[in-house]
Amino acid sequence: MASNAAVPFWRAAGMTYITYSNICANLVRNCLKEPYKTEALAREKVHFSISKWTDGKPEKPTLRSDSPVE
């Protein structure tokens, strides 16, 4: 196993495989024809709420409904 084997350009730039794969998937989704495009983008939407806890109690949560997270 060569430890200095040629790495892919995205890894050399500091990106992980998951980030690379998600970027590729997003680009493909953005190139779809209309009804499929909105379905695909809707499917990948992420909604989550984050709350910080202090002294054993949650503070007010922040609701994030980002569009597809990369």
């Binding site: 730039a13 794969s21 590729c24 680009l27 953005n30 190139c31």
Partner: protein, 200 residues
């Protein structure tokens, strides 16, 4: 008393890690023999609970002669496109080029680049454009292809592809940091693959 049984449950998992290559396993077992024996020693009156292993389909063993069909599992995060479908050949877009997989193919793990996966069954060919993923080909003529996004070719919009290609080519020339250059390069790779699929 039941706590010791959960410690025993952990033991078969350690035995599994000692196996060298998962592609040349004999047929997998359907029940944890060691767990069942140990359970019966401690709690002979209760039936042993089912472990995850007994819910799984056992891996078919590698046959001695090459089978006539390849069994393909093509899965996406949100759907299973093909589940144990018997086909004649699949062509996967590996990073090292288009790779044809026939029954009896040597066990391989291939990383996929954005490209077209074609499934050949008799006279019909079904093509999907894959964004990226992996293909695992096992010695028993089973192939697992996993991708994040796969679309049939008629769902791709050519004008959006051209627009994207132009946009990313422009971004590459104006990129400063390594990361921006890498993102622009990824954009160009994906869009050129989409483009050549539509025109080729």
């Amino acid at each position: 008393m039941l706590r010791r049984a959960s410690g025993l449950l952990a033991r078969p998992i350690l035995a599994a890690r000692a196996r060298p290559f998962s592609t040349d396993l004999p047929a997998a077992q359907t029940a944890d023999a060691t767990f069942v024996e140990a359970w019966k020693k401690v709690i002979p009156n209760m039936d042993p609970p089912k472990t995850p292993l007994s819910f799984m389909q056992p891996r078919p063993p590698t046959p001695s002669s090459i089978p006539s069909k390849l069994t393909v599992n093509f899965v996406l995060p949100y759907a299973s496109e093909l589940a144990t479908k018997e086909v004649d050949m699949v062509i996967v877009p590996a990073t090292t080029g288009q790779m044809g997989v026939l029954p009896g193919h040597v066990a391989t793990i291939a990383e996929l680049k954005p490209g077209v996966l074609s499934v050949h069954e008799g006279n019909e060919v079904t093509k999907y454009f894959i964004s990226s993923g992996f293909a695992f080909i096992h010695a028993n003529s089973f192939a697992d292809v996993i991708a994040v996004e796969a679309v049939p070719l008629d769902r791709i919009d050519a004008s959006l592809v051209q627009k994207g290609l132009a946009e990313f080519t422009q971004k590459l020339s104006s990129a400063t940091t390594d990361l921006e250059k890498a993102e622009a390069q990824i954009g160009i790779d994906v869009h050129s693959a989409l483009n050549s699929t539509l025109t080729g």
